[in-house]
């Protein structure tokens, strides 16, 4: 049994990690930290876990060594204490943005401050198995992924791999997101009467995840925009791409099949009939699938590349466990079997 501890276990990513790890056959959850709630049962904040565990939150000060330490802390907390965490965990998976970018310059540009531990950046592998599976298998340090970045990266993956994108034209990506992306802490904007039913431009320009897309795909001319909608979990990326040369449905089927082959969590959704012709986030709540698909406007050469996922799963905790599996030679899908619900 692998011993795993979660730092920042009272948050939404932390709770999802805990749910997954409690059901993971090769893992024993050692400790779960929260400063605010130290001593409380974890199900006081994660009510779905009532009856599943008698674990209580520990403060970080009582953390013990373990095989894997998973960090689910706010921005910059991991980077500031990375030496300390590296002394506790044989391996580290950090869900924050702290170690996602390889280039310290890019970090400064997008995060507006110098990276606190720049020499650690090269030790981390970006935790997107669809791009970096082999590197993940052989590293001890994995960074998590941005949830919106992942939706866009996976939406674009087939087109990038197949070289179909006309990079002289802008790639415009609109992501529609749920409220859990913002984490568990209440604020004025998350007050139900204000947040409920919105279609709210949350980050129409300037979203930091742009850097992860540039890094992953080498695209320069990419423009993203995030809109909050009525949903708790889930994200849908709608990416507008113009192709080079003329492209037809069969070309796209080929590109998508090539990209999804051997990827246990990529499903192609592109149906000619029925209600579910395109990827949709709601049926993915709790599942680690990323559903990908497209629509083609032959007249203009525009491809609308789509990806739906659960931001707390494939966009955070699920991706982390997928990496944990790869790092330890487990079946890539173990502990991630839940297929999602319908209707829901």
């Amino acid at each position: 049994m692998l011993s795993v501890s979660i730092v920042g276990g009272s948050g939404y990513v932390g709770g999802e990690l805990l749910r997954l790890l409690l059901g993971h056959p090769h893992v024993e959850v050692r400790q779960v930290t929260s400063e605010r709630l130290a001593g409380q049962y974890v199900y006081s904040t994660h009510p779905n876990l009532r009856g599943r565990t008698e674990l209580r939150y520990s403060p970080q000060s009582s953390l013990e060594p373990c095989d894997v330490l998973i960090l689910a802390l706010p921005h910059s907390s991991a980077a500031k204490n990375i030496e300390h965490y590296a002394g506790l965990g044989q391996a580290i998976i950090d869900c924050s943005a702290d170690f996602r970018l390889r280039d310290p310059e890019a970090y400064s540009r997008w995060y507006g401050e110098k990276h606190p531990a720049p020499h650690w950046l090269e030790r981390f592998v970006y935790g997107l198995p669809e791009l970096y599976r082999e590197q993940i298998r052989s590293t001890r340090y994995v960074s998590g992924v941005g949830c919106n970045a992942t939706a866009i990266n996976l939406a674009l993956l087939p087109l990038v791999k197949a070289g179909l994108i006309d990079q002289t034209k802008p790639v415009v990506a609109e992501v529609k997101v749920g409220s859990s992306e913002a984490g568990a802490v209440a604020n004025d904007g998350s007050h139900h009467a204000e947040r409920s039913g919105v279609v709210r431009s949350f980050a129409p320009v300037g979203h930091r995840h742009t850097a992860e897309i540039m890094q992953a795909h080498g695209l320069e001319n990419v423009h993203i925009s995030i809109t909050s909608v009525e949903m708790v979990r889930g994200a849908l990326a709608t990416c507008h791409v113009f192709t080079q040369g003329s492209v037809n449905e069969r070309d796209l089927w080929r590109a998508y099949r090539a990209a999804a082959a051997e990827q246990p969590f990529l499903r192609i959704v592109h149906d000619r009939s029925g209600l579910h012709r395109h990827p949709e986030p709601k049926i993915l709540a709790g599942s680690n699938y990323a559903d990908i698909g497209w629509a083609l406007d032959e007249a203009t050469g525009r491809v609308v590349a789509l990806c739906a996922l659960d931001n707390l799963m494939k966009g955070a905790a699920g991706a982390a466990i997928q990496c944990l599996n790869l790092m330890h030679g487990f079946e890539e899908t173990v502990g991630l079997e839940f297929t999602g619900l319908h209707p829901v």
Binding site: Q40, S44, E54, R56
Partner: protein
């Protein structure tokens, strides 16, 4: 080691190194309990501020 919750009569498992004055939550009813004596362990409801938890 264990003790009984004065609120709900639930059984509360206690660490061997529990301290006098320590606060432990009841796993069943969520009450905050104070260790008021050690041999035997006696728990009492800790003073609570009534939270406003809703509308």
């Amino acid at each position: 080691m264990s003790a009984q919750c004065p609120e709900c009569e639930g059984t509360i498992a206690l660490a061997a190194d529990i301290l006098d004055g320590e606060i432990v939550p009841c796993p069943d009813c969520g009450a905050e309990l104070e260790v008021v004596s050690l041999n035997p362990v006696v728990l009492e409801l800790a003073p609570e501020v009534e939270e406003d938890w809703g509308e």
